[in-house]
């Protein structure tokens, strides 16, 4: 081989001078800086004191795995379990475990460890090792058990002397409770080593503080309040939004005590202008909701009325001889909840009802925000009901009809008035690549990678 001269190489070299070209394959390395509002006191997802905030799954998914996970369509897929099968009747299930998986620190994940982890958070389940698998027995048919195992609380963890260790893609390097979490990528992670070398998460930061960090380049991923997402995007920031996945609802502390009580609840529901709440208070950060599940998940939510009808509300009110003064509770630390509560009280007054705002936990009716726990509609409805303090829905089968019947029954009981479904929003730096939009607001941080410069 002989090389002739390259007189034109200089021109080519000029093109090259110090300029990086974009490349689509992911880069390994770097530290991803994240800020979030929640300030959890523990890293245990099953801690009963653990607040159920919308971003919790993003945090815990970095450290823990579940036996089963859900894909974008809500279908189950293998995680720590390779495969599973049930006996007829769906009461007894066997989950075969992936081989070679270790906890942070190198302890192997054994069927005993998995069984102990699941028993700790599900005391009514019978969970025991069977060879290389784990068997779960339930008291009643549980056709949704695989999807249930994908829930945050069912992460596989080793709890020892107050310390919790997971099998997830990152290992905990530093944990300053409620303030800072430093994670480092695990080279031996069964799902492949994450692209970032490490992640540093600043906790307990208000939305405003997060935005400042973001603008200063100190944080590359931040949470953005639903009502601020539009403005943040209009100002040129990259804002990623999930599907509407956090329910805002009014929940009564007890069932209707009389027909008049039920009618008064109906008047309250008819009086609330959800469009106004969404467009004015939340700046379009969500969608009006008549049902508990959003339409993208159920496909039928539009059959539940979500429109205000003040005239009808006043007519209904006229048929109630005496109305009860209700206290309306809300989270005093959440400025949006306060504004929503005030608006609701005003609407109720227009319909002839009396609502008194309260910040305690003993209110007659509470304004709550509950994120959807699962992309599986049946599991999501069950978890919503539990979070709202409603009876667990009973599904006659697995069809969309059965789902509708169960949801309709919950609504007919008049314990809950759905108001809105909010979208989760986050600010993402232009240097963060391979960000995937997941419907439920999951971040998928192990798969993102950091580019050297903005595109």
């Amino acid at each position: 081989m002989r090389l002739t001269g390259f007189p034109l190489l200089a021109a080519c070299s000029l093109l090259a001078a110090g300029v990086a070209n974009a490349a689509t394959r992911p880069h390994y390395g770097g530290t991803l800086h994240v800020a979030m509002r929640a300030a959890p006191a523990s890293l245990d997802p099953a801690d009963p004191n653990q607040p159920d905030w919308a971003g919790s799954r993003n945090l815990f998914a970095l450290i823990f795995d579940t036996l089963v996970s859900l894909d974008e369509q809500g279908r189950t897929k293998p995680a720590l379990a390779n495969s599973w099968q049930s006996e007829p009747g769906y009461q007894r299930w066997e989950f075969s475990l992936r081989q070679g998986v270790t906890f942070q620190g190198g302890t192997p994940v054994t069927p005993d460890a998995v069984a102990a982890s699941l028993r700790a958070v599900n005391p009514t389940w019978k969970v025991f090792p069977t060879g290389d698998a784990v068997t779960i027995e339930r008291d009643s048919p549980a056709p949704d058990l695989p999807a249930e195992l994908a829930l945050r609380r069912n992460v596989i963890a080793k709890r020892e002397s107050g310390r919790i260790v997971g099998t997830g893609p990152f290992a905990v390097m530093q944990w300053d409770a409620g303030k800072k979490l430093a994670l480092v990528a695990r080279d031996d992670y069964w799902g492949g080593r994450p692209f970032p070398d490490s992640i540093e998460i600043e906790m307990g930061k208000s939305f405003r503080e997060q935005m400042i960090s973001f603008d200063l380049g100190k944080a590359q991923v931040i949470e953005v309040a639903a009502e601020q997402a539009h403005g943040a995007s209009a100002e040129g920031r990259r804002v990623e939004r999930s599907a509407a996945m956090e329910l805002v609802a009014l929940v009564f502390s007890h069932d209707p005590q009389s027909p008049a009580d039920g009618r008064q609840r109906q008047v309250l529901e008819l009086s609330i202008d959800r469009e106004l709440l969404n467009n004015v208070v939340l700046q379009g950060g969500g969608e009006p909701a008549g049902g508990l599940l959003p339409n993208w998940m159920s496909g039928y939510a539009f059959v539940f009325p979500a429109s205000a009808n003040l005239t009808l509300a006043q007519q209904e009110r006229a048929e109630v001889q005496t109305t009860t003064l209700w206290s309306l509770g809300y989270d005093a630390d959440d400025p949006v909840e306060r504004v929503l509560a005030e608006r609701i009280a005003l609407s109720a007054r227009d319909a002839g009802l009396r609502l008194q705002l309260a910040t305690g936990n003993t209110a007659d009716v509470r304004l709550v925000r509950v994120p959807l726990a699962s992309l599986d509609a049946h599991v999501a409805l069950g978890e919503l009901a539990a979070a709202l303090g409603l009876p667990r829905p009973k599904f006659a089968g697995n069809s969309v009809d059965d789902l509708y019947s169960a949801e309709n029954s919950l609504l007919q009981a008049q314990r809950v008035i759905p108001l809105l479904h909010l979208r989760a929003a986050c600010g993402v730096s232009a240097t963060v690549r391979n960000w995937s939009e997941v419907r439920d607001g999951s971040w998928g941080l192990p798969d993102v990678w950091l580019a050297a410069e903005k595109p």
């Binding site: 081989m1 002989r2 090389l3 390259f6 034109l8 190489l9 021109a11 080519c12 070299s13 093109l15 090259a16 001078a17 300029v19 990086a20 070209n21 974009a22 490349a23 689509t24 394959r25 992911p26 880069h27 390994y28 974008e72 369509q73 189950t76 897929k77 293998p78 390779n82 599973w84 099968q85 049930s86 006996e87 075969s96 695989p146 031996d188 992670y189 492949g192 080593r193 692209f195 339409n295 993208w296 159920s298 496909g299 539009f302 059959v303 992309l375 509609a377 049946h378 089968g397 697995n398 069809s399 969309v400 009809d401 509708y404 309709n408 391979n434 995937s436 419907r439 050297a452 595109p455």
Partner: protein, 444 residues
């Protein structure tokens, strides 16, 4: 003990109230997608035309079953008689599909004794909404009877995946032909021109051998790829056809070798041997250039074997392409630093701002300068492109229009005869991996 098989492969059939099934990796059924041997481009064109003609027919038959079921439910609620029916669309269905469904629903209702009247003459009104959720179309009928009597019935029908996009016009034209589509990640595909034709598919956990029979690919053998260490993210792998045995497969830290005759056996073991960068003519390696792949990453370390003349290292790179010249070979490396390095045995020149992605491959088309470079674009996750370039001296010049992919290209390898390349992309709409053969023709 009952096994719950995956629902994969039944998405074009009406599901109605079929119980949701759980995914069982061990027992998942493989989808046999459409597959055509691509030795004759005219046959491909005829096949595509046939597919286009068949699609509306098959979709129409898809609607019939859910329409029949919903009509039955409505008729049970309304009974025979005068009914006003309205159909609205809340889904991603097109207007023509909605019209097709509306006609099917009305026909089914009519067959069940329902008479249609205007709303002001009807005792019963039925508002049918064609909606959808994560997995299915959901058709909902709200039935209003008399004063305040209303009921809701519904059915679900699986949503099919989106259709493919097709070729753009071009000068020198890049042709893209679908070979295979799979829910599992496809690392590489190799077509074996034998009688019958065979196809080898490299996936993260398996190597699959298919045989063409009656114009369909039938799985003949499946070989697991055992690996003690977890695969890296952005897993890559390559199949290389051989003369003395059928194929070798290279994965990070793992090497697999097949036997020569059927039924095949495949032996895999841990190995850090370099991956061949040149696979033509068939079996040329080890005389060709090879490179060491970082077993826990997604790139080549840059160490070359035996080297390009005096150059035994290149910058760490994702992909490489050779352009044979009269007296030497010019090598292009799509480096991890985002630049394209041109190595000729003596010098290492750098080109940037080419708009190329991480994957390049060379193809011998016989057009123009004879050899072209296929380069991916700067895929944004939603779409990507592959475009042909020529390098007369050192400056790449685009010689084709980019061919579009619905999702990032995840693999691009020159085929064994160097006349075409295999491109794999992950469809951003369906999530499925799609393997294509890319070939070039002269002119428009």
């Amino acid at each position: 003990m009952q096994t719950h098989g995956a629902t994969i492969g039944v998405y074009n059939q009406y599901r109605g109230y079929m119980p949701r099934t759980t995914y069982n990796a061990a027992y998942a059924l493989r989808v046999l997608k459409m597959l055509v041997p691509l030795s004759d481009r005219r046959r491909v064109a005829r096949f595509l035309l046939l597919m286009m003609l068949l699609v509306p027919v098959s979709r129409a038959s898809d609607w019939r079953a859910p329409a029949e079921q919903l009509a039955r439910k409505i008729a049970v609620a309304t009974g025979p008689g005068a009914v006003a029916v309205k159909v609205g669309n809340r889904s991603s269905l097109s207007n023509s599909e909605v019209e097709e469904i509306r006609r099917a629903l009305l026909a089914e209702l009519g067959a069940l004794g329902v008479h249609f009247v205007n709303a002001d003459q009807a005792a019963v009104t039925v508002q049918i909404s064609l909606s959808e959720n994560l997995q299915d179309y959901v058709w909902v009928a709200e039935i209003h009877q008399g004063d305040n009597q209303s009921s809701v019935v519904m059915v679900a029908a699986p949503r099919p995946n989106a259709a493919m996009t097709e070729h753009p016009p071009a000068g020198l034209t890049v042709h893209k032909a679908l070979l295979w589509s799979d829910e599992n990640r496809i690392l590489d595909v190799a077509m074996v021109n034998a009688n019958p034709q065979h196809m080898i598919l490299l996936e993260p956990e398996n190597i699959l051998l298919y045989r063409l029979q009656d114009s369909r690919w039938q799985q003949e053998q499946e070989f697991p790829v055992p690996h003690l260490h977890p695969w890296p993210r952005d897993l890559r792998g390559r199949l290389v056809l051989r003369k003395d045995h059928l194929f070798d497969a290279y994965l990070p830290g793992i090497f697999c070798r097949s036997t020569a005759t059927a039924p095949l056996a495949v032996n895999c073991f841990e190995s850090d041997d370099p991956w061949p960068l040149v696979t033509w003519p068939l079996g040329a390696e080890p005389s060709g250039l090879s490179a060491f792949f970082a077993s826990t990453r997604n790139f080549f370390t840059g160490a070359l074997s035996p080297g390009i003349e005096k150059q035994t290292t290149a910058p760490a790179f994702y992909s490489a392409a050779a352009l044979p010249r009269n007296k030497y070979t010019l090598w292009l490396f799509a480096a991890v630093d985002g630049r394209v390095h041109l190595l000729d045995g003596i010098t290492d020149q750098t080109a940037a701002r080419l708009g190329w992605g991480s994957d390049i491959a060379s193809v011998k088309s016989g057009c123009g300068l004879g050899w072209q470079i296929l380069a991916t674009g700067n895929g944004d996750g939603m779409s990507d492109t592959v475009r042909a370039f020529e390098i007369a001296d050192r400056e790449p010049v685009a010689v084709s229009q980019p061919v579009e992919f619905t999702g990032n290209v995840t693999a691009l390898w020159t085929e064994a005869d160097a006349n075409s390349a295999i491109a794999v992309s992950q469809n951003s709409e369906t999530g499925r991996y799609e393997a294509y053969r890319l070939s070039l023709t002269c002119g428009l």
